[in-house]
């Protein structure tokens, strides 16, 4: 959506770059560590666990019941199957930091 300044998008490569610079680890190892952090969080959630990182926020799983949706183009009603979704609840600290900066 909107962004207050034109700040670029941060990616895995940028995270690895910062780890390389601050820790002095080789680039490939830094990228492996970024992947490992993401993989650990993904694995926990695939196992049905919520992930809570203090100071940052929580990834919370929610189970959605089946509901009736509509194809917006044709108007045909279709059932939306029950599914599990992942939501992010930012910590108060992160919320305050983002609100203050704007």
């Amino acid at each position: 959506m909107d962004s207050m300044r034109s700040v670029g998008t941060l990616t895995r490569a940028d995270l690895a770059e910062t780890i390389n610079r601050k820790m002095g680890f080789p680039r490939s190892e830094s990228l492996d560590l970024v992947e490992a952090i993401l993989a650990k969080m993904c694995d926990a959630m695939a196992d049905g666990e919520n992930v809570k990182i203090s100071g940052f926020g929580s990834f919370v799983l929610r189970d959605k019941k089946e509901r009736i949706g509509r194809n917006p183009k044709t108007g045909v009603e279709v059932p939306i199957t029950p599914r599990r979704v992942m939501t992010f609840r930012a910590s108060q600290k992160l919320k305050d930091r983002i609100a203050k900066a704007s």
Binding site: S3, K52, M86
Partner: protein, 94 residues
Amino acid sequence: MIRSELLQSLAADNPDLRPEEIEQVVDIFFEEISARLAEGGRVELRGFGTFSTRQREGRTGRNPRTGEAVDVPPKRVPYFKPGKEMRERLNPEG
């Protein structure tokens, strides 16, 4: 899973690194994401998801206890959209 469990799990897989180093790496990871969001930017971690911020309009709220009207100023809030791979992993048969 909480932060300390993430650290332990990473330490178990990386015996060549000291626990303090693992902790620093994890701190850098979440700090860089937080900093970019505070700057108004986005963070795209393909497969996992995308973090961004959205602008909330100001509104007139009410103190639920007193019923008094209070001005809630406009503010920027964090937003996360899970990636396709993540969504699929959470719904293996779907």
